[in-house]
């Protein structure tokens, strides 16, 4: 960075307080530990009786050990606060995290759309066969004027007046079975009709 940005007062104060807490806690751990080690030394001459001195040392060690644990706990809290501050205010890593997430989601979306397009291309072939089968079978309930897709295109080929509002598709091949789906799907190699087409 070229120059240090002036942080707002609250952030500056907060970071200074973190420093102070760190120094205090580390100092507390070290001092209490060294004092425990010193107290463990057995003196030959004592001001009070040995039993009393022993009790006093015992109590002092308890208190100092509790202080060490308290300082350790306070350090853990400091680390937790630092983590929180980092997540909220460390802009470089937040930007990186957002970019990564965007990339993941976009990749997933593209994968879904790619698979849907492939599915559409496969299904269009099968649907054509199904329609033929359905409309030529006895279970068809359609009216006489309601032509199936294949019939409509065949009629259109023979008689342009019976187009009946259907748009004229581009019929490059004389075979009626190859016509209809060619216009709908993008360039695909099912030109030979439903029979010889293979699913990949």
């Amino acid at each position: 960075m070229a120059q240090q940005r002036a942080l707002p007062q609250s952030k500056e104060t907060l970071l200074q307080s973190y420093n102070k807490r760190l120094k205090d806690d580390v100092k507390s751990i070290m001092d209490n530990f060294t004092e425990i080690i010193k107290t463990a030394k057995i003196e030959d001459e004592t001001q009070v009786s040995r039993a009393t001195q022993g009790e006093q040392d015992h109590y002092e060690m308890h208190v100092r050990a509790a202080n060490i644990v308290r300082a350790g706990e306070s350090l853990m809290k400091l680390v937790s606060d630092l983590k929180q501050f980092l997540i909220l205010n460390d802009f470089p890593s937040v930007n990186e995290a957002i970019d990564q997430r965007n990339q993941q989601l976009r990749a997933l979306q593209e994968e879904c759309d790619r698979k849907l397009i492939a599915l559409r291309d496969e299904i269009s072939i099968d649907l054509y066969e199904l329609e033929e089968e359905y409309y030529s079978s006895s279970s068809s309930l359609c009216e006489a004027n309601d032509l199936p897709l294949c019939e409509a295109y065949w009629r259109l080929d023979l008689d342009t007046d019976s187009a009946d509002g259907l748009s004229a598709p581009v019929l490059a091949s004389p075979e009626p079975s190859a016509g209809p789906l060619q216009a709908a799907a993008p360039a695909h190699s099912h030109a030979g009709g439903p029979g010889p087409t293979e699913h990949a």
Partner: protein, 117 residues
């Protein structure tokens, strides 16, 4: 932070520091326990005490470095970036897939019915 798979080195470093603080307290306890025995193992005592001191200094240095980095990087402004738009697009793509699956199951069911008839 565990919900996202973020490779955030600083957060991992802070987690290591947390583990090290636990190790500091463990070492201190071991040293005092060793001192309380009648026959103290001096080598273990020295090793644990050295490990304790080294850990404390390491933790202090690491935390100071993190605080220094935050002083340089933090601004007063909240971060207003979000991944909402790409999340919405992805959600719509998944909805499209679900819809296609629903329609395909309808077609399959219709075909089975016609075959049975």
């Amino acid at each position: 932070m565990a919900t996202y798979s973020l490779a955030n080195e600083r957060l991992r470093a802070l987690e290591d520091i947390e583990r090290e603080i636990g190790a500091i307290l463990q070492n201190a306890g071991t040293v005092i326990l060793e001192l309380s025995k009648e026959k103290t193992n001096e080598r273990l005592l020295d090793r644990q005490a050295a490990a304790f001191t080294a850990s404390v200094q390491h933790v202090e240095a690491e935390l100071s470095a993190q605080i220094r980095y935050l002083t340089q990087v933090a601004t007063g402004q909240p971060h207003e970036g979000s991944s909402y738009s790409s999340r919405k697009d992805c959600q719509m793509a998944l909805k499209r897939v679900d819809y296609a699956r629903l329609k395909l199951s309808d077609v399959a069911r219709t075909c089975e019915q016609l075959l049975e008839n």
